[in-house]
Structure formats: structure tokens, C-alpha cells
């Protein structure tokens, strides 16, 4: 039995945050340091220490990867995924622990790293290739392949600053895709480019994987992780929460998105709210739920738990469902005023439920932002308002009698339709 191709043992990375964070990284000037030097004796004299917090971006992470495995790394923002890839790519140095990579490693943390806007496509292929670790000979021999893959042949001698963002990404990915490494580390690069090209990139990566290469792949798009990977590592707060078979980890991960709404009462409110009453919990359910994935062919039940400090009369509730996070596209707007419903809250706990018609939402993750207000008094301030109050996952919209399904990558909704040919 040969050794694992990647061996990670007790890998940790610590960042100092807190006081230092007042100054954006990289913009610290000599003056800031002087200020700090002056602060030092003050600290010593008064014993009043300026807050300096340690943040463990990675904490004691260990795992092994065998040759030929394709591993998806999933987790929320700030869970340590990117830091781990940076450490494995040797960009940042770990604080503790070690990792052994047995093979030629190529990492693609960003598409088009080192592309210079003034250089032509052709020139950038050479420079980018070199910086990714290809020799001149190698680039030369693969040049035609790279150009063919990128589909920008006719603009090869145009400076890339004149490229559309799509062309730019295509060329950049094409270079990276032809690296031919033993270990490929890819971070979120498919977030850009059009759907057809994304498909092509995914195909190319599958190709790499099927040749016995090892791939570490980070993506927010569960669908592309599912399409590519066989195993998954779920990162949370700098540690590995779960590792194993993709389906199992992915399901547990989707489910956990729903657990995040527990301490809604403690969440910071984004806008000035009167606080007479507070939304303390939101639960999204549907009939026929599997692994906590909502079935959008069934009515959506959104249950609001509200804690009122006193009796509050004449309240309307509203919520907006967005794709991904509150920053995403607005999918649905549900407002009790639309249905002429207002509520009288009694002091203490209230439960209000909103039931929709089948939403036919495409498979993916959605967020709910919600609030309460008095009708006609929008300008006076809301009673409560929470962004990203809850998230829920919808299972892929499976079309009856076919193998097709719809998820967020394809469309927002499924709409009943039929096709016919004129007789």
C-alpha cells in the first residue's frame, strides 16, 4: 500500500485580530506603528492591555487523501476552506502542523491570476502558464490546445484589457485546465462565466479527475460539487466537522443550514426598530420533506414565532425570499397586507404561519428576510426587521416522467408549459 498523496496533520493557522484590525491589512503605515510603540509603555504602566484577539482560521485539521480521489470542500464563509487551500498551495504558512503533498501540485485560487491587461492574450498565456508552474516547452506544446479550449482564437493578439469578462475567464481557465498536475486545488473559480462554459470547465475537471488525478475543489455551488466529487470535507469554524462520502456529508450540510436560526432573538437588527415585539424563530417546512430539503411542489409553510413585550395591535408581517443570501435576487415577496391580514399580538409568545401555494422554486439554498410593521406607518420605523433570518434548502425540482430536474443554475422557478407543433 503506497502512501496517501496528501497527508495533513494537525494543520493550524492563527491570525491576530482585534486592535490591529482597526487598520485595514496592508495599509498599515509607519505612523500606525509609532502609535503602537507609544501605546506599548502605556500598556505596561497601566496594565491595561489593548485587546488583541487570536483567530484560528484553521485549528488542528488532519486528513488524508488517496491518489485519484476528488474531494469537495464545503462550508460557510469563514469556515476555513480558503485558508486551508492557501496553506496547501503554499501561499500562506501554517502556524502549526504539517502537510505533505506527494506529487506536482497546481492550485487555481482565482482565474487569471497574473493576467496583465496590457499584454495580449498570447503573451498572457505564456506568463500565466509560467506562473502556474509550466515550463516554456510545455506551454508551447499545449498552446494550440489551450487556444482551442478558450474559443478566442481571433482575439489572441489583442490586449486582454479589451476582452469581455467572459473571454477573459475562458482564456484564463483554459491555461489552468492544461496544467496537468498530480494534485489540482481549485477554489470557487467557476463562479464566473456563462453556463455553457461552466459546463465545459466542469467537464475538463472531471476529465482531469478521471485520469487518476487528485482534485480538491471548493465551491458554494453544491450542484457542481455533486457533479464532480466523490467525497467531501465539511469545514466549520476552522475545523473539520464531517468528512466522508459526498452524499452523506452534503445532506448533513444542507440540513445544518436550517439549524442556524435558533438564536434569532439575539441577532443584531440591521435598522432601527421599535422592538415592541421580536421575531424569535422562523421555521420553513413543506409536505414530503426529505433530509430537511423542501419540496417546492408542495405548499410552503413559514412559521414565525414572535415574542411581544406588550400587546401590540394591528401588525402586518412581511418576508422576502432571496436566492442564496439576502444579497441574492428576490424570488418571492410575502406581505400580510396583500391578503388583507393584520394581527393583534398578545404579550408573550405568538405564532403566525404563512402558507403559500406551491412555489415551484428551483433546487438550491434560499434565505428569508422578514419584518413587522404597522400598516401605513412604514416611515415611522418597523417593529422588527431581520435580514437573512433563516435559510432553507429546496430539493432539485424533479420533472415528472423525465430525468430532468431544475436547480438555481438553470432557472428561478419551474413553470408548467407544453410544446406543440403546428399541424
Amino acid at each position: 500500500m503506497s502512501k496517501s498523496i496528501i497527508e495533513v496533520k494537525g494543520l493550524s493557522k492563527v491570525y491576530n485580530i482585534g486592535h490591529e484590525q482597526l487598520v485595514a491589512p496592508g495599509t498599515m503605515t509607519f505612523r500606525d506603528t509609532l502609535v503602537r510603540i507609544i501605546h506599548k509603555p502605556v500598556e505596561l504602566l497601566t496594565g491595561h492591555k489593548l485587546q488583541k484577539e487570536k483567530f484560528w482560521a484553521l485549528k488542528d485539521v488532519s486528513f488524508n487523501v488517496e491518489a485519484g480521489e476528488v474531494i469537495g470542500i464545503i462550508g460557510r464563509n469563514g469556515s476555513g476552506k480558503s485558508t486551508m487551500l492557501k496553506v496547501l498551495s503554499r501561499i500562506v504558512e501554517p502556524t502549526n502542523g504539517k502537510a505533505i503533498l506527494r506529487g506536482r501540485t497546481a492550485s487555481l485560487l482565482e482565474v487569471g491570476t497574473g493576467f496583465h491587461p496590457e499584454l495580449t492574450g498570447r503573451e498572457n498565456v505564456f506568463f500565466n502558464g509560467a506562473i502556474l508552474g509550466m515550463s516554456r516547452k510545455e506551454i508551447k506544446s499545449k498552446f494550440d490546445e489551450i487556444v482551442a479550449f478558450s474559443e478566442i482564437e481571433q482575439f489572441l493578439d489583442t490586449p486582454v484589457k479589451f476582452y469581455s469578462s467572459g473571454m477573459y475567464v475562458r482564456l484564463a481557465f483554459a491555461v489552468a485546465a492544461h496544467l496537468d498536475p498530480d494534485i489540482l486545488i481549485v477554489d470557487e473559480v467557476l463562479a464566473v462565466g456563462d453556463a455553457a462554459f461552466q459546463e465545459k470547465c466542469l467537464g475538463k475537471m472531471k476529465d482531469v479527475a478521471s485520469h487518476g488525478r487528485t482534485v480538491l475543489f471548493v465551491s458554494h455551488n453544491m450542484q457542481s460539487v455533486k457533479a464532480l466529487c466523490t467525497k467531501a470535507i465539511w469545514m466549520e469554524k476552522g475545523r473539520i466537522r464531517e468528512m466522508g462520502d459526498l452524499e452523506t456529508v452534503a445532506d448533513k450540510y444542507s440540513t445544518s443550514s436550517l439549524e442556524s436560526n435558533i438564536d434569532l432573538a439575539k441577532r443584531k437588527r440591521a435598522t432601527a426598530v421599535t422592538g415592541e415585539a421580536m421575531i424569535t424563530n422562523i421555521t420553513v417546512t413543506s409536505a414530503n420533506q426529505k433530509n430537511n430539503l423542501i419540496d417546492s411542489k408542495k405548499p410552503l409553510h413559514i412559521e414565525f414565532e414572535i415574542n411581544a413585550k406588550k400587546d401590540v395591535k394591528n401588525v402586518i408581517l412581511h418576508c422576502v425570499i432571496t436566492a442564496g443570501t439576502a444579497m441574492g435576487a428576490h424570488m418571492l415577496s410575502l406581505l400580510s397586507e396583500y391578503t388583507n391580514s393584520t394581527f393583534d399580538l398578545i404579550k408573550g409568545k405568538n405564532t403566525i404561519t404563512c402558507i403559500t401555494a406551491p412555489t415551484n422554486l428551483a433546487g438550491g439554498v434560499y434565505a428569508i428576510s422578514c419584518g413587522m410593521l404597522h400598516p401605513g406607518k412604514e416611515m415611522m420605523g418597523h417593529i422588527d426587521e431581520v435580514y437573512d433570518a433563516a435559510t432553507f434548502a429546496v430539493s432539485d425540482y424533479k420533472l415528472e416522467d423525465t430525468d430532468s430536474y431544475i436547480n438555481q443554475r438553470d432557472a428561478a422557478f419551474y413553470v408548467e408549459h407544453k410544446w406543440q407543433q403546428k399541424q
Binding site: P25, G26, F30, R102, L109, L119, I131
Partner: protein
Amino acid sequence: MQTEVIIKPRKRLAINWAELFEYRELFFYFAWRNVKVRYKQTAIGISWAVLQPLITMIVFTLFFNKAVGVQSGSQDVPYAIFSYVGLLFWNYFSQALTQAGNSLVDNQAIITKIYFPRIIPPLSSTIVSLIDFGFASIVFIGLLFYYNFVPSMLGLILVIPAIIMTFIAASGPGLFLAALNVKYRDVKQVLPFIVQTGLFLTPVIYPVSQVPQQYQWILYLNPMTGVINAMRSSFLGTAPINWPLTALSATVAIVTFVGGLYYFKGREKEFADII
């Protein structure tokens, strides 16, 4: 398994020569890119490399020589040639220093996304300046013909060591400033000032002989004094080379180079975190 990379916290300051050799192509790619980009979207392109020192020399000659009356220190050497030798090497030094000092910050995007030996950008930018040096030398040859001046053989032989010494003299502080620039962007502001002041602290427009004999060694603590004066002495045959003081300059250059290199290596690991 041909390649095995072990990632762990580094403790030593050792320089990984094997790795540098492996990345030798990237060294030239960086230089190549900088040269390519340098004169993009300019109307006269590479001619700037020739025009800049030429115009500076003319201004210096008119102003310092004709107006103020600074002499070359030798009857046989026209001031234009005298000052051009100084400018040639000073420009190489100052450009290499400036570009090396800014090289990491200019490549910020790459440094946070890709691994490669961090020493490549600063060192390769000193090579780019060498190309400008080459172009500026063409003007020098023209100047020699114009004044019908025949340089000495010894001078021609010493050109290569002089270039190497300039490279070392610029790389040391260049590496130091590049690393410092990652943390303190003040370096970017200070660099033009260093270059401007340095021009007057180095005998570029005036001969060393303007300084009293017993204080001349202070000037030689600046490695560029050693380079420029050795070149003038030999190439133009103004005076015999002052070997002890030139050796002092060389020692300072080497010591600062080693110092800069180790400062850089010591800071290297945090570049991606704080740049």
C-alpha cells in the same frame, strides 16, 4: 513519487537554491513581462530608454557645467562624457532599486493567489533595468564618437564587474525595501526621495576630487561611488583607480546585499498575510 512537498512552519532562513533553479524560467518571464508592459501604449516606445538619459545629460551639462561651472576634474574629458558615465550607472542603480522596492506590492494580486519563490519579482526587476542600461549605453557609444574619445582597454574589461557590483548594490536595499513595503506603504513614498537625494550624495554630476581628500572615504561608503569612480578612472583614464576605497565600496555592497537578503527571507512567510 518524484516530487514531495512538505508544508510546515519554517524556522531557518535557508535559501532553497534547488527551488530557485526550478523556477528559473519564471525569473525571466517576470522580466519579460515588465519590459513588454513598460512601453505599451507609448508613441515612441523603447526610444524612451535612450531619450531619458540623453536629455538628463544635456540638462546637466548645460546647467552644472556651463552655468555653474562644475568640471569633470580632467582637462582631457568632456563634461558630457564624464557625467554620462555617472548617469549610466546611477540610472541603472536607481531604477533597479525603485522597481525592486515596489515589485512585491505591484504583484500583490499574484502573491496572494499563487506560490512561487517571493524573491523572484525583486531580483527580476533589477534585470529589467539592465535592459534600459543597454539602450542607454548605445547613446554613450554615440557620445564617444561625437567627442572622438578613445576609452581605455582596462575600462572595457571592468564594465562587467561594474554592472555586477551595481546589481548587488541595488539588490540589497531593493530586497530590504520590497519586504518593508509589504507592511509599510511609506516605502513607496520614500523611494523617489531616496533616489533624488542619492543623485547628489553620489558623485554623478561632480568628481570625487571636489571633496577634501580626508573625507572621501565617507563618499565611498556608498557603493555607487565605488562603481562610478572606478569606471571613470579606468574607462576615461582620469586617474588611477583607488583600489582600497573601491574595495570599501564593494564590501558595503556585499554586506548590505546579505543583510537585505536575510531580512527578506525572514519576512517572506508573512507576505501573503499582510500585503
